[in-house]
Point group: C2
Chain length 197, copies 2
DNA sequence: CTTTACAAACCAAGCGCTTGCTTGGTAGCT
DNA sequence: AGCTACCAAGCAAGCGCTTGGTTTGTAAAG
């Protein structure tokens, strides 16, 4: 039944449907508690048939992460490119990452954060390399603001604080609630550039 | 084998040694990937002997969390009681929680954050009830600051942001690095009361 | 000082079940 | 003919946990 697709860039091929179902289940129950039989049942095939599309169960997890990294790196690059000022860029970054993590790619993003250690060290390194572009976009923006004297705190530390704030959001934020995603982005932005505490 | 005790309040009884070893392993490999045979081997007994001390493997996880909640609730109460002003109390709270999560009870605290969903719903409710006192201390402090007009943002939201910031710290903070824990606490405090961004 | 009693702590062995994954074969589309 | 997508069946390994019995520490009774 797979509700709406967990990752935007994914089509409705057998592989795509498997990835969506897997992302959904991984977020709900965690990687270890999700069996290949669960995933197979979610798309209506036999458990053994999964291994026609993926070599191992871990490969499915990696594929989910790979897709979401690519998709969201593109989104982040677009966000940065669409703004002129450093503060504008940072706000766009925060909005984009919030959108990723509580919006359209929420399931896959959450999986990447919470199931990271279920990857073998080898695949962790590969995924980390993919993420480096993503992180550089943040550091560039924050460094620019730092050089402009907007804030004194080390950009590296600020990125970590933002990662924590944003990454925790799925655990409490209610999209139907009184605070919009853009409101929340502004609240977080103020934690960095210090307007209206 | 069991290096320094993961939880301060724990003695060196068989039960205490099991809890320390379990906390260590749960943080390293996660609850699901840690077998009862792993835990048993870490304290030098047979796997079956564990069930003389705990009814189920899940009970071990719950016991770890229960201990760390009790210990740190006491620490938080002490932190609040030792300060007079609202801002001082908040700083003491941040310091105390940072200390919990990267300091003496780091392993058990990390386990509580990352392995929460491995608890049955029943035990989740029980643990949540234990945590309510803990959370109320935060909300009291933040609400007082809010009423004093120190910041405009909703105290509830601010607590969530702080939870995220603090909870993510173990993933990057280096105790041997140039920034001390108290430095970091001040940086985080400034995100709330808005001094020197 | 020895004996008896008893509970806490532990061992050796293994049961029943679930797991990721394999195998050999089939249906359907191009 | 050949490829993709799948099924039916099951294997080997690992899992949490049980069982029945043995050791160890302690302390009162003789």
């Amino acid at each position: 039944m797979a509700e709406s697709l967990a990752i935007n860039g994914i089509d409705d091929s057998p592989r795509g449907r498997l990835l969506s179902a897997a992302a959904h289940l991984f977020r709900d129950k965690g990687f270890d508690r999700t069996t290949v039989r669960d995933i197979a049942a979610a798309v209506g095939i036999q458990s053994g048939s999964i291994f026609h599309h993926f070599k191992t169960k871990e490969d499915i997890l990696y594929a989910v992460m790979e897709e979401v990294i690519h998709f969201n790196t593109a989104r982040l690059q677009q966000a940065v490119a669409s703004e002129a000022t450093a503060a504008g860029k940072l706000r766009a970054l925060i909005r984009a990452e919030l959108q990723s993590i509580v919006g359209d790619t929420a399931e896959a993003m959450t999986v990447m954060v919470t199931e990271w250690r279920c990857l073998s060290e080898d695949k962790q390194r590969k995924a980390l390399a993919l993420r480096s572009i993503y992180e550089q976009l943040w550091l560039d923006s924050l460094s620019e603001l730092h050089q402009q004297g907007v804030m004194k705190t080390d950009p590296f530390i600020l990125r970590r604080l933002l990662t924590g704030m944003i990454g925790w959001t799925p655990n409490w934020f209610d999209r139907e609630g009184p605070v919009s995603l853009d409101d929340l982005a502004d609240i977080m932005l103020a934690r960095v550039i210090g307007e209206a505490p």
